[in-house]
Symmetry: D2
Subunit: 127 residues, 4 copies
Amino acid sequence: MMKTNLLAWIQEGNITIPTILFSEYRNLNLNEYELVLLLNILTFLEKGHEFPTPDELSARMTISISECNDMLRRLIQRGFIEITDECTNEGIRYEKYSVIPLWERLVEHFLKNNKNTKETDKQEDET
Amino acid sequence: MMKTNLLAWIQEGNITIPTILFSEYRNLNLNEYELVLLLNILTFLEKGHEFPTPDELSARMTISISECNDMLRRLIQRGFIEITDECTNEGIRYEKYSVIPLWERLVEHFLKNNKNTKETDKQEDET
Amino acid sequence: MMKTNLLAWIQEGNITIPTILFSEYRNLNLNEYELVLLLNILTFLEKGHEFPTPDELSARMTISISECNDMLRRLIQRGFIEITDECTNEGIRYEKYSVIPLWERLVEHFLKNNKNTKETDKQEDET
Amino acid sequence: MMKTNLLAWIQEGNITIPTILFSEYRNLNLNEYELVLLLNILTFLEKGHEFPTPDELSARMTISISECNDMLRRLIQRGFIEITDECTNEGIRYEKYSVIPLWERLVEHFLKNNKNTKETDKQEDET
């Protein structure tokens, strides 16, 4: 019984997220609802469910389906997620979310920050 | 230069979170602000900063210091985090956050859910 | 250029492993070759490649294809991995590795250890 | 009881490793023993134990203390780990392992590979 529960827990699995997403989401102009929506999309993707619906996403959150729908649309417009067309080996077409745009934004921000830090260090060294 | 940036990224590190925290936080009566506050505390703990201040936490979020303070107090009252007294090898006392209460709540919820699922399965098997 | 490299790094991804696999593999009678073979299978599974061949696995390791083949067979016989038959939505059958037996063994070992620790604690409390 | 066991499991924790360490360790001229030794050092570091002894490391592995000692020395000589001198806030000096050299080697290898891939792609595009 204990073994079954522990195995069930293990199979639920973990999700691994770069810590700077938590320290920088605000600087990317994301609010807490948008961050959690992105984390939920990531969780679905991780589990192999590549195109969760607004119903499935809002069911886990404190927002309504229509609010979720609006939020998804704005996240696409603002370049944090995108919907890509894919094709199975058997030639069946399907859509999936991609969070690569989110990582691009985070990386751009990180590189800019890193550069500024270095320049500040350099100036301090020189004085 | 690229190497330096990549190494800096790696050293920022990752945080690993059980996926069911994302599917179940709403059922634990947590909202998105409280979830993200907990995730930020986890991130600080992971980096060895064991008692982040409301200033440090709210600086990453879209909430004010006093809202952050209130939220921390309520999370303690409602049994999601606790402050524990610790002591270094050199006998210096300090305080730290513990998120064990959060994992307890999540585990309780998981075990209850798992039991219900099994009973439903059993009933379906019997019909 | 830097951005491209960092994104490529992120997309290579991470794998998350319970730390007790590293502290306990020896007690499960696994050697270092077998542990690394299991970790490589996990890595392939994580990336969605569910049935890596002995060629693909041995190419990453310091063992030959035939040694890899033998090791896989013994890991199946000894109950650390299994091959399961799966079926796509389109009705196409395929085989995949499952590492659930490994987690079962690790969990059994963990529960036994945990029980012993508690009993030792109890005896010490009583004295 | 179940809750206690699950909490104990969660607190044992996970370790997150870049997948390319598994696909590339052989190309870094590491063998399986050395890889597992490095993974064990990482696990100790993650848990806040910054300078595990050859006794502690070999106790988890199938190698003897003196073999472990030799392996550690060679990993330092070959630039995969280093020992750094640290100082607590209270002015007490201590030693710790750093695995930054390992990440440097992995990143160098990754950047070289990535460049080659791109040049191959480019040549193929041009033909």
